[in-house]
């Protein structure tokens, strides 16, 4: 929708450069330096998560008390923890866990939230009321509390954290999808395909979904940051990844006891979490501006 309005109406079609929508979004994204840095950081994190573990020299899990609580040095770049494990190695190995939790829990949120939102917005009436009241109930719980409750019931493990954080992001996706669906389904081109005889499924998948993707993508990027933060929080509380998994939140929690004498044990996992969350946040913001120039106020 927004792309149509930003194009130049009224000009002769021969004069218009053949920018596709995707090219225009990319151009706008490139102009936003912060978003670009965020994007490159995310790319870098993904590469580290994929190939990083093959390049580390230390074992992330092997306990060796002779090297415990060493300060950063040339052999142990970021020092060692209370079990003598190299912190840099553990951070590199933990990267994939962090991203895995972030992406997968948001996927859970999308898979449940988007269909709910589309059905509520498209069919309306009673179905809308039922779905949105259900979403309201989910929203009534503070997010972290809901996640803690779910994990305490299901038991602490990474897959349960993913499920809990996923369910916690359902309301956000459902609401944003419903709103966009309402807006798009009032447009005349939806009426036009209906007048051609198109069925509901065709209208939803071919005409509504492609036109509400931008807000969903933006929401997903920002939600990944929140998911990583919540998952780290759960692990910090001992409800998520269990030792000796090199999960950053758990590492932070273990480093807490040595905060005053050996601050590096808690500091570096904390910084790592912050950098990843920040990268997703600024990239998400930039993406939103690029996808919808009207919102840039």
């Amino acid at each position: 929708m927004s792309d149509a309005k930003s194009a130049m109406p009224g000009t002769n079609s021969h004069d218009i450069k053949g920018y596709s929508t995707r090219q225009m979004i990319f151009k706008r994204l490139k102009k936003n330096k912060a978003a670009l840095i965020g994007g490159y950081l995310i790319l870098f994190f993904i590469i580290v998560a994929l190939i990083g573990p093959f390049f580390t020299v230390h074992d992330p899990l092997r306990v060796d008390y002779s090297t415990k609580l060493l300060s950063p040095s040339t052999t142990h770049w970021l020092g060692t923890d209370h079990n003598g494990r190299d912190i840099f190695t553990r951070l590199v190995h933990g990267m994939s866990i962090t991203l895995y939790i972030g992406f997968l829990s948001v996927l859970v949120g999308i898979v449940i939230g988007v269909p709910l939102g589309i059905s509520a917005g498209y069919y309306g009436k009673a179905l809308d009321s039922v779905i949105m009241r259900f979403i309201d109930i989910l929203l009534a719980f503070p997010g972290i509390l809901l996640a803690i409750a779910l994990v305490s019931v299901l038991g602490g493990s990474i897959s349960n954290v993913i499920l809990a954080v996923g369910i916690f992001s359902v309301p956000g996706f459902a609401r944003i999808t419903r709103g966009s669906t309402l807006a798009v389904s009032k447009l005349e081109y939806i009426d036009a395909v209906r007048a051609l005889g198109a069925g509901d499924l065709r209208i939803i998948f071919l005409h509504i979904l492609p036109n509400i993707l931008s807000p969903i993508i933006v929401q997903a990027t920002i939600r990944i940051a929140i998911a990583i933060l919540i998952a780290s929080g759960l692990s910090f509380l001992g409800l998520g990844a269990q030792p000796p998994t090199p999960e950053w939140g758990a590492m932070l929690s273990q480093g807490r006891s040595y905060m005053f004498d050996h601050p590096h044990v808690a500091l570096y996992p904390g910084l790592a979490i912050m950098t990843v969350v920040l990268a997703f946040n600024i990239f998400g913001d930039g993406l939103r501006d690029a996808l919808d120039p009207k919102m840039k106020a």
Binding site: A4, S13, T21, L187, L196, G197, G199, N211
Partner: protein
């Protein structure tokens, strides 16, 4: 007289107004309130009236893009209001609609070729291999070039987009096309081009148009017959010539007097109506026009006037005024 193609009987469309603590229906907007008319094959019938009089809602209800509250719509002898969803989808290929806003009526994520082929695909009227060729042929029919087929809607101007909208409506060889303010959003020169295109297409494909417009100049140019609506009801209907020269309803007279005269110093008697259009939530009792009619009498407040034929005028000329004889014959 030609064969009857569309017959609308006592069509009503009320929109509920929700409110109160539990969101119950507290009132209705009576957008279309009991209208009946007939459209014959091959003619152009215009539905005119000011904003909010229900003309677009009437068009959309006929196609069941909005579910009518009451009434029947017979298309080619079939009652559309009783069809199931599946039957309706099949019948849709015979009646199409062209929308007002050329910027909202095309999906921005589809190329023109995809938009045109979709119709053929949904109704499965053309085999797969021939669809692209048919889409290109449609483009040429509406005056666009086939090399433009792979472009996206945002690469076109308003007039070109409207042509695409027309091509889409034509793709299924419909019998009836409802033009819902189809030229209102276009500037004057483009408007004329599109109107002439519609006229030539009508001749070529033997189309019937239900032309919804507030622009009397356009209506005069394109229609065979005219139906005038006010606040959800029909106030007058006649063939074009009779309506423009010999209208028999005070509202139509006022409407016609608002057309600008294209002659410097041309004689013009403007009938200026006072007040606003009353709300269609709570329309006036009796004749809906009595609050603004310069000739309103006691009877107009109490009794709702029915559409009745006018003696001595052209056949089919009907007016919903208690006093048209007195008013217009002195």
């Amino acid at each position: 007289m030609n064969k009857e193609l569309l017959r609308v009987n006592n069509l009503k469309k009320y929109y509920p107004i929700k409110g109160g603590f539990l969101g119950q229906t507290i009132n209705h907007v009576k957008a279309v309130d009991d209208i009946s008319f007939v459209v014959y094959e091959g003619e152009t019938v215009s539905l005119v009236g000011e904003s909010g009089c229900g003309k677009s809602t009437a068009g959309r209800s006929i196609l069941r893009l909005e579910e009518p509250t009451a009434g029947d719509v017979y298309f080619d002898g079939i009652d559309l209001t009783t069809l199931t969803k599946k039957e309706l989808r099949k019948t849709r290929k015979n009646m199409q609609i062209i929308f007002q806003d050329p910027f909202a009526s095309l999906n921005p994520r589809q190329t023109i070729a995809q938009i045109l082929q979709e119709a053929l695909l949904i109704q499965n009227v053309v085999p797969r291999e021939q669809r692209k060729a048919k889409a290109l042929e449609l483009l040429e029919t509406v005056g666009l070039a086939s090399y433009q087929a792979d472009r996206y809607p945002h690469q076109f101007s308003g007039g070109q987009r409207q042509r695409v909208g027309i091509a889409r409506a034509l793709s299924l060889n419909p019998k009836l096309i409802i033009c819902d303010e189809a030229v209102s959003a276009l500037d004057v020169s483009i408007k004329a081009q599109i109107l002439n295109l519609l006229k030539s297409l009508q001749k070529r494909f033997k189309l019937t148009y239900l032309f919804i417009s507030h622009d009397l100049g356009v209506v005069r140019h394109i229609s065979d017959r005219v139906i005038v609506m006010y606040l959800g009801r029909i106030v007058e209907t006649a063939d074009k010539k009779t309506l423009f020269e010999n209208s028999k309803h005070p509202y139509t007279k006022a409407l016609l007097s608002a057309i600008p005269v294209p002659k410097p110093g041309g004689k013009k008697e403007r009938i200026v109506l006072t007040g606003d259009v009353p709300s269609s939530i709570d329309p006036p009792e009796g004749c809906r026009f009595h609050t603004r009619c310069p000739f309103a009498a006691e009877k107009c407040i109490k009794e709702m006037p029915e559409l009745r034929p006018i003696f001595g005028s052209a056949p089919g000329h009907m007016s919903a005024c208690h006093f048209y004889e007195e008013i217009f014959n002195g």
